[in-house]
């Protein structure tokens, strides 16, 4: 374990690199960068132990802007590269920075497998529902029917919800935040970092140029109280400007009710428990979308489960302790040999 006392105190500035940030003015990525840079000093980790790994896309330029170790990979492969980094040295603090094209399309396979293995990394998924760097083609998260440069008559593809995919892979941590709520993002990043295993954080991010206001209904300050529900462990699932709406279970579905109406009281409202091993409730919460439901933000799921990189190390240590073979000379001279 790291000796916390010996770690110097960092500030946001320690994590700002000398590279000029080249995102478009007004891009949601700026606030995510800022929230990460604000969270890092609070993670009680030496600066040189952070590694930011990315794929390709606007969001994947992220590592250049953080003054830590960084690896800008190739399209879709950040999770695979990060898996190598983390397996190689489990004492590193590894962050994957990726977008909806990078993670849901070309890197979809690595996305589900890093979750399945439960590699101890933080995975930030910037979801702006569009290909930005290639200038405006629809992505696997673009809503059905949306007109984009490659869907001039509207898309005919059903979109992924990253959270649903994560539950399908039985990911052990899933949180959602929005790019216009820096305080909440920072809280979520700190929670994600605490979790042992793959911590997936989806940020609803605005692409000001090619998909402006795509999350507007969810994130706009005038409507968000009614359209978002901020889930907190141990608290009732309540939302709304008047804090009078809540979620109840109705058969196999969630249902929005108003407290004090139709016979529903506060006692009927569900209490959020992200630690349930069964991912079904987290799946229902991740699925919720407007207009029937509010969109869930906060930590939807955080369960304790075995961690790949830790298992890999302990297996090696165990075999080392019982094996008579201590080096190559032992190995090469073991078993069937012949003296000629």
């Amino acid at each position: 374990m790291t000796d916390i006392k010996n770690i110097q105190k960092y500030t946001r500035k320690d994590f700002v690199s000398d590279q000029e940030v080249k995102w478009c003015a007004g891009c949601g990525d700026y606030s995510i960068l800022s929230a990460v840079q604000n969270a890092l000093p609070e993670l009680e980790t030496e600066k040189e132990k952070f590694v930011f790994v990315s794929g390709i896309g606007c969001s994947s330029r992220f590592p250049y802007y953080v003054d830590t170790f960084g690896f800008h990979g190739i399209h879709g492969r950040a999770a695979a590269i990060a898996s190598g980094v983390k397996s190689a040295n489990p004492r590193l603090n590894v962050w994957i920075m990726s977008g909806d094209g990078d993670s849901m399309a070309i890197g979809g396979n690595h996305f589900i497998h890093v979750l399945r293995r439960n590699m101890n990394v933080n995975y930030v998924l910037f979801n702006n529902q569009i290909y930005g760097l290639t200038k405006g083609q629809y992505s696997p998260t673009t809503p059905l029917g949306q007109v984009t440069k490659t869907s001039p008559y509207g898309t005919i593809e059903h979109p992924f919800k990253p959270g649903e995919l994560a539950m399908g892979a039985e990911g052990t941590f899933y949180a959602r935040g929005t790019d216009n709520n820096p305080k909440q993002m920072k809280e979520i990043f700190i929670e994600a970092n605490k979790h042992q295993g793959t911590s997936l954080v989806e940020i609803l991010q605005n692409c000001v140029i090619f998909n402006n206001n795509t999350h507007h209904e969810i994130t706009d300050k005038t409507t968000r109280d009614d359209n978002q529900i901020y889930l907190k462990a141990g608290e009732k699932m309540i939302f709304g400007k008047e804090k009078n709406k809540g979620l109840v279970l109705d058969g196999l579905k969630l249902k929005v009710v108003t407290i004090g109406e139709d016979g529903y009281t506060l006692d009927d409202i569900l209490v959020h428990d992200p630690s349930m091993e069964d991912p079904t409730m987290a799946f229902l919460l991740a699925r919720m979308s407007l207009p029937e439901y509010p969109v869930a933000v906060g930590v939807l799921r955080a369960v304790v489960a075995p961690v790949y990189d830790q298992l890999m190390e302990s297996q090696i240590e165990e075999v080392k302790s019982i094996s008579k073979i201590k080096n190559m000379t032992d190995l090469m001279n073991s078993g069937h040999t012949f003296v000629l």
Binding site: E48, T68, I74, L92, M328
Partner: protein, 614 residues
């Protein structure tokens, strides 16, 4: 041991074992091989199996084979045609007869030659009776009957008994080769140490086979292969895939770096992943990735984190990895990509051999991305070249492609166990803590950049697939910088040739013909060259293991010979490459695209034709 017959001493001899996949031919072959090694013979082996796990029994498609070439002489290939064929069913006989020498000894189970079996093998009549084997020396005991007789009171069912048939044949072979059957029994005892009943049954059958051979009159003469006298020291029989895995592990120990392999199962390279997965006691980290792409990318991540990293694959897998090879190249991270080549294109012939990915290894990337390429030449030297590949990768900060193939990977030969102290040093250059660090500052001699592992305070830096500015490593779209970086990366790789050992040339200093091979065609090409040399022909031979960059003395060697012939198991990839590199020479070529190794006889014939045409 046999004393009642003519004993014929042979310099070398080829035995082929063939039967259904479940007949235990690989086991019997290994038993024969290990015994040969114990008795001091030099040897090479090559298994030959279908790509299906259990192809229909008794059919030609289902024939699984194992060939062993043993010698008092030095052995360089798994042998041409067989002197002895063991065929456990008619299909195995029908398929392999064309691979036997005239007059070869054929050992079959007479009981397996039934009408039903002929139908499955699609043959019209009984080859034991229709004259097919007239010119062969046939030993055809009723093996099944004999085994059932011997084990009648053993209490095991006939299915289990029939599985011991291969040991009856083994018994015959021990007699035929004047060997103590106890060696075979010892092998069984070791092999089935946890299954004493199996040892007991098989021992009884092996002895019965030996006794049968002593008593029947079918065996008129027996063979004796004296021990090899050139090979001295402690050896083991090793496959190319195992030697590759161990070479990588030896490089890990020598460099002081922990080893990470990111890989995805693919024939015929999977054995490397399986072998390395066993060796957690030496700290090997194996990551069985979700696909080929994750295999290499995880290895790149591990290399970035400061481990010695490799990925293993075969042709189609290398295609999938291409983009990531470019990433390792531009980030200038050490990485070994092992490609165990197989017949192509596409899925091609997964279990067969072909030197078919040279062009892919050389040029199969976007952009200017020259990468060192090394090719191993024998199962045993896979160890050295895997070791060398890591040494070059680590000391020159570059990905390296190591080419082996199915023939080397699955074949085996005697390998002299090295002393770790005798292996070259491997010296990684890491950034030091709290010292100024520039990612693309270079060592003046090798032009290698300095490796900075995460966890090193003060060495925080960013690398990636985008072009970077010289020295500082910021993202750069500057045209002049790009040209400079392209030239620097190439020059770095070209300078690797400064560290090569001298290119070995065998035979005459100047001659009518220089035989050239690369990688795994060395064994057959060298043996053919030796044949011609013994006949007093004006020949020389050189084999290339360092493919890119080529050894600097290559043109000085080529100019000493009137003709140059390049042999390779493809449509002429290396020769095309040589024509591009050294267009001043005229090259003849011998190519084979049957996804089978060269035979020494066919090369000898080709070289003779060239010499005679002059």
């Amino acid at each position: 041991m046999a004393t009642n017959n003519n004993v014929i001493e042979r310099e070398r001899l080829v035995i082929k074992f063939a039967g259904d996949s479940g007949d235990g031919m690989q086991l019997t072959g290994t038993q024969f091989t290990d015994t040969s090694a114990l008795l001091g013979n030099d040897l090479a082996t090559f298994p030959d199996f279908p790509s299906e796990i259990r192809a229909p029994q008794g059919t030609i498609a289902g024939v699984s084979g194992y060939q062993v070439h043993i010698g008092h002489a030095n052995i360089y290939t798994s042998g041409d045609k067989a002197d002895v064929l063991v065929a456990l069913n008619p299909a195995a006989l029908a398929y392999n007869l064309k691979h036997c020498k005239p007059g070869a000894t054929i050992i079959v189970d007479r009981d397996a030659f039934t009408e039903k079996a002929f139908k499955k093998a699609k043959i019209d009549s009984n080859p034991l009776e229709d004259g097919t084997l007239e010119h062969y020396n046939v030993i055809a005991p009723p093996v099944t009957t004999q085994c059932r007789e011997v084990l009648r009171d053993s209490g095991v069912d006939s299915k289990t008994i029939d599985k011991t048939r291969n040991q009856f044949i083994a018994g015959i072979l021990f007699y035929l080769f004047n060997r103590d059957p106890q060696l075979g029994i010892d092998f069984l005892a070791k092999k089935f140490a946890k299954k004493p009943k199996l040892v007991e049954l098989n021992t009884l059958i092996l002895k019965a086979g030996y006794t049968y051979a002593e008593n029947v009159e079918a065996i008129h003469s027996t063979y004796l292969i004296n021990p090899n006298i050139e090979k001295k020291g402690k050896f083991r029989n090793i496959t190319g895939n195992q030697a590759t895995a161990w070479g990588l592990m030896a490089a890990s120990e020598k460099s002081g770096l922990n080893f990470f392999l990111g890989s995805y199962p693919i024939t015929p390279a999977t054995d490397i992943l399986m072998e390395l997965a066993k060796h957690k006691e030496l700290g090997v980290k194996t990551f069985q990735a979700e696909d080929e792409i994750a295999g290499i990318n995880s290895a790149i991540g591990a290399s970035y984190a400061g481990l010695m990293a490799a990925t293993s694959t075969s042709g189609p897998g290398l295609s999938l990895k291409s983009e990531a090879v470019g990433l390792a190249f531009i980030t200038e991270l050490p990485l070994v990509i092992v490609n165990v080549m197989r017949g192509g294109p596409s899925t091609g012939l997964p279990t067969k051999t072909e030197q078919t990915d040279l062009m892919q290894a050389l040029w199969g990337r976007n952009g200017e991305a020259p990468i060192p390429i090394i090719a191993a030449s024998s199962p045993a030297d896979c160890f050295n070249y895997a070791f060398m590949a890591e040494k070059i990768a680590i000391e020159h900060m570059t990905p390296v492609i190591l080419l082996t193939d199915s023939y080397l990977g699955n074949g085996s030969g005697l390998w002299k166990i090295p002393n770790m102290e005798d292996l070259p040093t491997i010296t990684p250059r890491f950034a030091k803590a709290n010292e100024p660090y520039e990612p693309y500052a270079r060592d003046p001699e090798t032009l290698a950049r300095t490796w900075a592992k995460p966890g090193t305070p003060g060495a925080e830096h960013r690398v990636g697939g985008l072009e970077k500015s010289d020295v500082h490593g910021a993202v750069s779209h500057d045209p002049i910088n790009h040209e400079k970086m392209t030239a620097l990366r190439k020059e770095k790789v070209m300078r690797i040739a400064n560290s090569y050992p001298a290119q070995e040339v065998f035979g005459k200093e100047e001659a009518d013909l220089l035989v050239v091979s690369w990688g795994s065609s060395k064994g057959a090409a060298y043996s053919a060259f030796k044949n011609l040399e013994e006949e007093g022909k004006s020949v020389a031979f050189t084999n290339f293991n360092f493919i890119f960059p080529l050894p600097k003395e290559t043109p000085d060697i080529f100019k000493r010979y009137k003709e140059i012939v390049v042999c390779e198991l493809n449509d002429g990839q290396f020769v095309k490459y040589l024509r591009g590199e050294y267009p001043e020479f005229n090259y003849l070529q011998v190519n084979k695209m049957q996804a089978q190794p060269f035979m020494v006889s066919e090369l000898t014939e080709k070289f003779n034709e060239i010499l005679e045409a002059k």
